[in-house]
Symmetry: none
Subunit: 154 residues, 2 copies
DNA sequence: ATAACTATGGTATAACATGGGATTTTATGG
DNA sequence: CCATAAAATCCCATGTTATACCATAGTTAT
């Protein structure tokens, strides 16, 4: 049994006409090892799909369940929205999941999808959008940490 | 056996003349796996129906049994209110439950019902009302967390 | 070199939502 | 205790969609 799990790497796979796409094999290995399931939903702040293990969302649900008043609306309604948006995406014997129209549209994905590891979760992007996003993130990081910039010239 | 259970996704199903609606298949799978039952009641704070597993309400009943301090009295009253309102809704061989007139009226449901996952529970809405409610939640969230708005434009 | 795995296309099968009708149960009054 | 009407439950049929399965080609590891 694995002690830790990390969604890593950046992998681009084809999306066929039905919305089927191969889940990176490393991701599948995590799901199998932990006997869990992949859950995906629209990012609340970015034009991409987010995915994680079902047990990650379960922790959220447990917190809400144990809060003082189960019948009142959750303190953070936005958190609550995730459950309405999320859905299990089991992969078949060939390792593919079938992304819904809703998710694909939100991320602007058509023929190709880029899986980007984010540790406890991952994101799925339209390739062009991810290229822009990655450039933006790097620029942002350099701006905030000049020490990184200086090392660039070495 | 499943380690966790989460009511997720947002699904719109038809309500026929008899008040019958298909319970989303994912929800049915949870009920079967846990050998439990679906229980529904009127939301205490919103114009919608709420549903959960019978064992979820059972935990709350246990809490009342064990409650000693007077501070929990108000909480217990709310819970008891739900017990008076709740009822089992078993689904037939085709996966349908029959919602009562009382519940349908409270939620303003006629031809269509939207099931919205909320983790340990779910809600059933009139489609138009849910659209408004979701918009309201998102607007509220943006007001309280401007950081989400800034990222939206990227 | 060969075996195992991966990504990907195509097809067959099973499951789902939904309409309609038949049968059983429930409430109520004789 | 039975009779009756209403209502709830069950069963069958259908089109649609998702899922499981098969096949191939390219990679990687042994």
């Amino acid at each position: 049994m694995r002690k830790v799990f990390l969604f890593m790497d950046t992998i681009c796979n084809k999306v066929d006409g039905k919305g089927r796409v191969s889940l990176p094999s490393d991701y599948r290995a995590i799901v199998k090892d932990l006997s869990s399931e992949i859950v995906c939903y629209r990012s609340l702040s970015l034009p991409c799909i987010e995915g994680c293990l079902e047990e990650t969302l379960d922790k959220l649900a447990a917190d809400i369940e144990n809060s003082t008043d189960f019948f009142s609306e959750a303190q953070d309604n936005l958190t609550n929205l995730v459950f309405g948006d999320a859905k299990r995406f089991p992969f078949d014997s060939t390792g593919r999941i079938m992304l819904s129209e809703k998710l694909l549209k939100h991320a602007g994905i058509t023929n190709e999808a880029v899986f980007v590891g984010k540790g406890r979760k991952f994101q799925i992007w339209n390739p062009e959008n991810w290229a822009k996003e990655e450039a933006r993130i790097r620029a942002e990081a350099l701006k905030n940490r000049p020490s990184l910039r200086s090392k660039e010239n070495e």
